[in-house]
Symmetry: C2
Subunit: 243 residues, 2 copies
C-alpha cells in the first residue's frame, strides 16, 4: 500500500508520500511515488500516486510523453491552469485504462489508482486535487484543507483534530509527519524513506523537496517526542469517576 497526504493551506502546500510498494508481503520495494513538473517563476506541479504501480508508472510516462486533451497533445509543462492540469492527469488515467483495463478485468485485477495533484501555475491560484481511477477529481477547500490517498485511516485523527486552512506552513509539515508516523507504526505496507515537498503560495518555486530517511535526525527526534507526548497526554487524562 501507500500513504500520501497533501495540505492546502493559506501559506502554501505540503505534499508527503511514503515510498513502499508491495506485491504481497514477500515482495517489497522502494519506489518514489512523487513526481514534479517545475518551471521556476511559471509553474510548480507535484503529483503523488497510490495504487497499482504498473498503472501509476504508465500514467506518469504518458504525462511525460504528452496526452491528448481536446484533440491536442499536451504535457504538464504546457497546460495553462491547474484545472487543465487535473484534466490532463485524468486523461492520462483514462488512456491507460483504455489500453490495460480490459486485460486487468479479464484477470480480476482491479484498475486501482488514485493521484493527488497540487501546485500553482502563473496567473491562477494554488490548488490541490485528488483524482480517482475514473479520471474524475475533487478539490481541497477551506472546509477540507487536506486530502489523503492510500492507507489514510491511521493518520486521519490528528489531521481531523489539529489542521485547518489557516495552519502555518511549518506546522503543516510537522502535522503531516506526525500523521505519517502514526501510519508507519501501525501498518507495515507503508514505509520509509519519505518524499516531502513544500510550496509557498504564489512563490512559483519549490521551497523544499527532501527525501527523509530513517537517519534524518529531525524526523527521528520528532517520532520519539510524539510518542512520548502521546503517552504523557494519556497519562494526564483523569480516571473515570464511575469506575
Amino acid at each position: 500500500m501507500t500513504y500520501c497526504v497533501g495540505l492546502w493551506l493559506e501559506q502554501g502546500l505540503v505534499m508527503l508520500a511514503d515510498t513502499r510498494t508491495n506485491a504481497g508481503v514477500d515482495h517489497i520495494s522502494t519506489y518514489s511515488k512523487m513526481y514534479t513538473a517545475v518551471v521556476p517563476g511559471e509553474r510548480v506541479l507535484c503529483l503523488m500516486a497510490a495504487g497499482n504501480l504498473a498503472i501509476t508508472q504508465a500514467v506518469w510516462s504518458r504525462l511525460s510523453e504528452g496526452v491528448l486533451l481536446d484533440g491536442e497533445k499536451q504535457t504538464l509543462h504546457g497546460v495553462g491552469s491547474m484545472f487543465r492540469a487535473a484534466q490532463l492527469v485524468g486523461a492520462a488515467i483514462r488512456a491507460v485504462y483504455e489500453v490495460d483495463g480490459p486485460m486487468l478485468r479479464a484477470q480480476d485485477v482491479r484498475f486501482d489508482v488514485s493521484i493527488m495533484l497540487g501546485g500553482q501555475i502563473a496567473g491562477g491560484p494554488q490548488r490541490l486535487y485528488l483524482l480517482y481511477a475514473a479520471g474524475n477529481f475533487i478539490e481541497a477547500t477551506t472546509d477540507t484543507p487536506f486530502l489523503q490517498i492510500g492507507e489514510h485511516k491511521y493518520g486521519k485523527p490528528i489531521l481531523d483534530r489539529a489542521l485547518s486552512h489557516a495552519t502555518r506552513l511549518e506546522d503543516g509539515v510537522t502535522l503531516t509527519l506526525v500523521s505519517m508516523d502514526s501510519t508507519l507504526r501501525s501498518n507495515l505496507t507503508v514505509g520509509l524513506p519519505l518524499d516531502l515537498l513544500v510550496y509557498e503560495a504564489n512563490s512559483l518555486q519549490v521551497r523544499l523537496q527532501r527525501r527523509i530517511t530513517e537517519e534524518d535526525p529531525y524526523f527521528h527526534d520528532l517520532r520519539e517526542r510524539w510518542s512520548t507526548a502521546l503517552r504523557e497526554a494519556y497519562r494526564q487524562m483523569p480516571a473515570p469517576d464511575w469506575l
Copy 2:
C-alpha cells in the same frame, strides 16, 4: 460499520463496543453489539460482534438456544473452559453459515462476521479471543494484549504506542475510550452510545458494565481534554531545522 476493542491485561479485561449499525448511510440504527453470559462466582463471558447484523444476531440466538459441540447441545453457561467457549461460538458461526451461507453467496452478500470473546471460567485463566467468519480464532497474548474488530485503523496508533499487558486496568479503560474517540471523530459509521465492560482478573464477577452516552460527563470531558492534549502536543513539537 462497528468498532470494538478488547484488552487482555494482567489486572483484567476491558471490552468496549460502539452501537451504530448501518445498511447504507440512510439506514442507521442503534444496536448493542455486546452480549454477556455471567454466573457470579463461576463465569463471566463477554462477546462483541462486528459484521452483518442478521448474522451476528443469528449467532447470538443460536448460542442462547444451544449449539452442537462434539455431539452435545451446549451453551455458554455450560462449557467448562474459555477455549471450549470459543469453540462453541465458532460452532454457532458455522451453523449460521450452513443455513444462510448459500443464499448470501447467491446474492453476492459476503458472510461478514467477526466476534471477540473475553472472560474467565472458574478453574481457568482469563482469556480474550477473536473469531473469524470461518469460526476459527486467535487469542491475545502478552506480546499483543489488544484485539480489535470493525473499523480498527483510526484507533490503533494510540494502542500501539501506549498499551502493554502490564497497563493498569483503569488506564486501560481510558485508553480504549481514547481509541474509540479517534474512531468516532473520523468515521461516521461508528457511533455513540458505547457499551463498556470491565472485568478484574480472577474475580469471576463483572466489575462494571456501563452504557456511555453522549451526555456522560466523564467521556465528554475526556474527549475535550484529549483533543486539547493532542493539539498542544503537536504545538510542542519542534519545527524542522531543514525548512
